[in-house]
């Protein structure tokens, strides 16, 4: 993972509901959970700091009530945070005037919703063209652009249909197409696949990854499904009770969960899908002959067959082709059956 520029950063963001939330934070001190509850307030987001880098898929994962939905709404300023800063390409969103906010949202942000939020009275084409229509783009231009994105999500031929005539998966494809129509830099997806059947969900995840490989957007993706997070994320932020528990790559989460809570999620994850050779190799030069050279960033799942097939260990190399360690059959089998280490 390369360290890119930071597109979206939030610093010490709070969202507290209740009779007088700002008074709680007025002193500059950080209130604890007990004090907040005692004063009749509810803390939905408590002092969150995150940085989303350009081009990465940043997944915020949490169970219901963890504050992840409120957080993404703070990031997009759909909900006004009680305190904190949200910097989008260096500009503080919380200081943006309504007019500026409208401009930012029209051209630089897109959002996909859990229940699609399609307009029932518009056709697929009109729905997808809607954000452009709002900007005041002329009809032929916006419809051309809409057709492009509809093709991108594989819905050609359905332009004239109404949302209710489509399956759930198709509706969400419309939602995705619509959020991309205005070519945003920053793409919010709020549990986009949660309302879909498991099979469709998987297909949509693949579709999403395909689109992302093409477009390379900066993405904030919300989910309550840890497997989904692992599949899609470059980095994952785990939230609990409004607070960030851990922010890490999927591999780090699995290998070094910050606490019991995170460990409980990772316990049942097929680690071979997450862990790379680099994480299980024995450092240093191989003791004898090797069966071949494998990159450290490769996932075990993909390399397992090769390593198991050979009695000799494989050398592990870094990006610069230097041998940095070696890995043998036994280490791979340990991971596959979830034994030891970790």
């Amino acid at each position: 993972m390369t360290e890119g520029t930071v597109t979206l950063a939030c610093r010490n963001v709070w969202k507290i509901y209740g009779p007088d939330p700002s008074a709680l934070l007025a002193g500059g001190s950080v209130p604890d959970a007990a004090a907040i509850a005692a004063s009749g307030h509810v803390c939905a987001v408590g002092g969150v700091d995150i940085e989303v880098r350009a081009g990465e898929i940043f997944v915020i994962m949490g169970l219901s009530g963890s504050g992840k939905s409120t957080l993404i709404r703070c990031l997009s300023r759909l909900v006004e945070p009680t305190a904190g800063e949200i910097l989008f390409d260096g500009q503080d969103l919380l200081r943006a005037s309504p007019r500026e906010l409208i401009e930012i949202r029209r051209h630089r942000m897109g959002m996909v919703f859990q229940h699609f939020a399609l307009l029932p009275h518009l056709t697929v084409l009109q729905n997808v063209a809607f954000p452009l229509q709002v900007q005041g783009m002329a009809r032929p231009a916006r419809e051309d652009r809409a057709r492009e994105v509809i093709a991108l999500v594989g819905l050609e031929g359905r332009e004239g249909h109404y949302p209710r005539e489509l399956s759930g998966g198709q509706q969400q494809r419309v939602g995705i197409a619509r959020s991309l129509a205005a070519e945003p830099d920053l793409w919010f997806l709020d549990e986009p696949f949660s309302a879909l059947d498991p099979l469709i969900r998987r297909e949509m995840q693949d579709e999403f990854l395909r689109v992302q490989r093409l477009l390379q957007k900066t993405i904030v993706f919300i989910t309550h499904d840890f497997d989904e997070a692992i599949r899609l994320a470059d980095r994952i932020a785990i939230m609990k009770d409004g607070v960030l528990v851990q922010v890490a790559t999927p591999e780090e989460l699995v290998l070094r969960p910050a606490d019991e809570y995170v460990a409980a999620f990772t316990a049942h994850v097929a680690r071979a899908k997450v862990v790379t050779l680099g994480a299980i190799m024995t450092e240093g030069a191989p003791p004898g002959d090797t069966a071949g050279r494998l990159p450290a960033s490769a996932r075990i799942e993909d390399m397992a067959a090769r390593i198991e097939a050979s009695a000799l260990p494989h050398a592990v190399i870094d990006d610069a082709d230097r041998v940095i360690g070696h890995v043998g059959r036994q280490a791979v089998i340990d991971v596959l059956v979830n034994r030891g280490r970790g």
Binding site: H115, A117, L119, P120, H161, P163, E165
Partner: protein
């Protein structure tokens, strides 16, 4: 009409819980009331206690003069620098008149020069064939062949029974009043949605618009908007608009949160958000409001005709003045036909807007191949009408009538059964009505004030108690105590009887599909048939007086009791029914133990609506000589006394609001106890 504000349902039932005292509170209050009613004449004789029994005259203030002064100022002197208030309203009247004249041109008159025998028609209005074809096609378009046949049948009734010309006059005003009512209601509803403060200010105004009888503000409207159809249109819009405002605000609030967020995320401005996203997304709900506006506009047909709208309402009034009962019934049924046809059409369009359009992806003309055919029918029937008049207007020789049948029916009943009816009436009158009336009039006013306030406190806490007390005090201070108590007696008794008839009918309607349809048709007819039509036969059979008035009120106010009961019973969750079936309930047990108790909140809302309708009938019952608030309003109208009319109208509104708030609070409590969420009603 629905007064119940949406927040009633969610308001948590306030009021302290004291199980012991609670059980005894109302029985004790009832006993005390009975004792006081009986003893009041004795107490009144005691020195120094009179002010507790009768409203002391020192308390009564002359609000009428203030209203009169205000109205005089508004009508004659108010101005905004460049123009006076009246010039403003006259300007509005002119604006409304333009589309109205256009509608008349198309539906009624065409282009005619001269009048009466000298009239020369340059251009005919749409022929009866064309209009029937248009509405039938709309029926087909909105709801298929069945609806097309129904709507076409209704319009054929108008032609065959010789009601065409008047019906088109009425239709022309409906066609104008409804868009104005819907448009204005939509704008106000949107404004209330955007600004909670405006919403709070608007609500009591809407309550008043729905409960103050129209007669009360008819005279100022005539002053401000001039004489003729436009004033009638304005009155119709005022009366028919409030449900649209409420429905709009509610519908916008219930648009899914995600849709609202979506609007923000694509960078909609406020106007784009409202008009491009929220309003279209709320369209199916909004159509419910449109339907209400149509029905209420048709309820206004009679009163509108009194101030110049003409049409079917005028025919009804005119026929009944001549005691031509048959003609009155036929014209009345024409109003029913028009109302039911428009109602079914608008409901079908509402359902249609919630469905995906079929055959999408085709051009408009390809999807609507009937459109050119329709234009052809309209043009051809018009051209044919030039050489063969029956194609233009339905010829008199083909018309049929049932007038003699109705007249002889009433005559037969009158001649043969009057004595039996009279005996029944006398029994009820002497044993129930007159004693009740005496009792209520004898009750000390302070006790009534205390009782209503107590009810408010028990059901809704301090705020409701305060509101109730203030409204009762208003009635007392306006010097309306006696007519208000007579109103209470007449409406109260009518509502009880309507409930006794309506709830079993509702149970019956919910019991089977066919029974539901038959009863539904009966109820629709009763609600849209102008009450004047049955008021006159009722007077013939029961003489002038409270009894005739009560029958008219019961007939009119029956509908919601039936509808809400049936709806409440039908919407009991199916798991509960299944649970009952599994535990071996008989049909009766199912009804008594499961369905009725679960339907109580809904039935209470039905009773609430019944009360509202009963109160709105007061002005009509004044026409058969009651002495209640309705009569006060009516007298004020005939004397053109704005002050008296508006104050008495506010008295009616005060009673309506007390009843509405108390029952809504009671329904909310019951619902909370049953663990039901959301808001019932239709």
């Amino acid at each position: 009409m629905t007064l119940a504000a949406p927040d009633h349902a969610t308001a948590s039932p306030a009021g302290p819980q004291r199980p012991g005292a609670q059980r005894w509170l109302w029985p004790v209050a009832l006993l005390l009331t009975l004792a006081l009613g009986w003893a009041a004449p004795l107490l009144e004789a005691l020195p120094g206690l009179g002010w507790l029994i009768r409203v002391p005259s020192a308390l009564v203030i002359d609000m009428q003069a203030a209203v009169r002064g205000f109205m005089d100022w508004l009508v004659n002197r108010a101005h905004f620098g460049l123009f006076t208030f009246r010039e403003l309203t006259r300007g509005i009247a002119w604006l409304v008149d333009q589309p109205y004249q256009a509608a008349r041109f198309v539906l009624v008159e065409g282009w005619v020069e001269g009048r009466g025998a000298r009239a020369v028609t340059h251009f005919p209005p749409l022929s009866w064939i064309a209009i029937t074809a248009i509405v039938t096609t709309m029926g087909w378009h909105a709801g298929g062949w069945r609806l097309a046949a129904f709507v076409g049948g209704c319009f054929l009734y108008l032609a065959v029974f010789g009601q065409w010309a008047s019906a088109m006059v009425t239709l022309a005003s409906i066609v104008i009043a409804v868009p104005f009512g819907v448009g204005l209601g939509l704008l106000l509803g949107v404004a209330a949605y955007l600004s909670p403060r405006f919403d709070r200010a608007l609500r009591p105004v809407l309550d008043l618009m729905q409960t103050v009888p129209i007669f009360a503000y008819l005279v100022p409207i005539l002053f401000l908007f001039g004489f003729g159809p436009v004033a009638a249109l304005v009155a119709t819009v005022i009366y028919a608009m409030p449900p649209m405002v409420r429905v709009t605000t509610l519908a916008l609030h219930s648009v899914p949160e995600e849709i609202r967020e979506f609007a923000a995320m694509v960078g909609c401005t406020r106007n784009q958000r409202i008009w491009r996203v929220l309003v279209p997304a709320a369209k199916p709900d909004l159509m419910v409001g449109v339907n209400q506006v149509i029905m209420l506009s048709l309820n206004m047909v009679i009163i509108a005709s009194m101030i110049g709208a003409g049409g079917l309402g005028f025919d009804v009034l005119n026929a009944l003045r001549r005691l031509n009962i048959g003609a009155g019934i036929e014209a009345g049924l024409a109003i029913v036909a028009l109302a039911v046809a428009l109602d079914r059409l608008s409901q079908a369009y509402a359902r249609r807007s919630a469905r995906p359009p079929t055959a999408s992806g085709m051009s408009w003309l390809a999807r609507n191949r009937w459109a050119p055919a329709l234009v052809a029918v309209a043009v051809l029937s018009g051209l044919l009408g030039l050489i063969w008049p029956p194609a233009q207007s339905f010829p008199a020789e083909w018309q049929i009538t049932t007038r003699d049948f109705w007249a002889s029916l009433v005559r037969t009943i009158n001649v043969n059964y009057f004595d039996q009816l009279e005996a029944f009436k006398n029994a009820l009158l002497l044993n129930v009505m007159i004693p009740l009336r005496r009792f209520l009039l004898a009750l000390p006013w302070v006790w009534v004030l205390a009782l209503v306030t107590l009810a408010g406190w028990r059901l809704g806490g301090a705020r409701l108690a305060g509101l109730c007390a203030a409204l009762v005090m208003f009635i007392a201070m306006a010097g309306l105590w006696e007519p208000a108590m007579i109103t209470l007696y007449l409406c109260g008794l009518s509502v009880v009887i309507a409930a006794l008839i309506g709830i079993p009918l509702g149970v019956l309607a919910a019991s089977g599909h066919r029974a539901g349809r038959v009863i539904g048709g009966f109820i629709d007819t009763l609600q849209t048939l102008p009450s004047f039509v049955y008021l006159i036969p009722v007077v013939m059979l029961f003489r002038v007086g409270d009894f005739a008035a009560m029958i008219a009120v019961v007939l009119y106010a029956l509908a919601p009791a039936v509808r809400y009961t049936a709806h409440g019973l039908r919407s009991v969750p199916s798991e509960l029914i299944e649970a009952g079936t599994v535990s071996g309930c008989t049909r009766w047990q199912m009804l008594w133990r499961i369905r009725l108790p679960m339907a109580v909140p809904e039935i209470l809302l039905g009773i609430n609506q019944t009360i509202m309708l009963a109160l709105s009938m007061l002005v009509i019952t004044a026409l058969v000589g009651t002495r209640d608030l309705g009569q006060e309003v009516y007298i004020a109208l005939t004397r053109a006394d704005v002050g008296q009319g508006i104050i008495a109208g506010l008295g009616v509104a005060a009673i309506a609001i007390i009843a509405d708030r108390l029952i809504a609070a009671g329904a909310a409590r019951t619902r909370a106890r049953l663990g039901l969420t959301g808001r019932g009603g239709s």
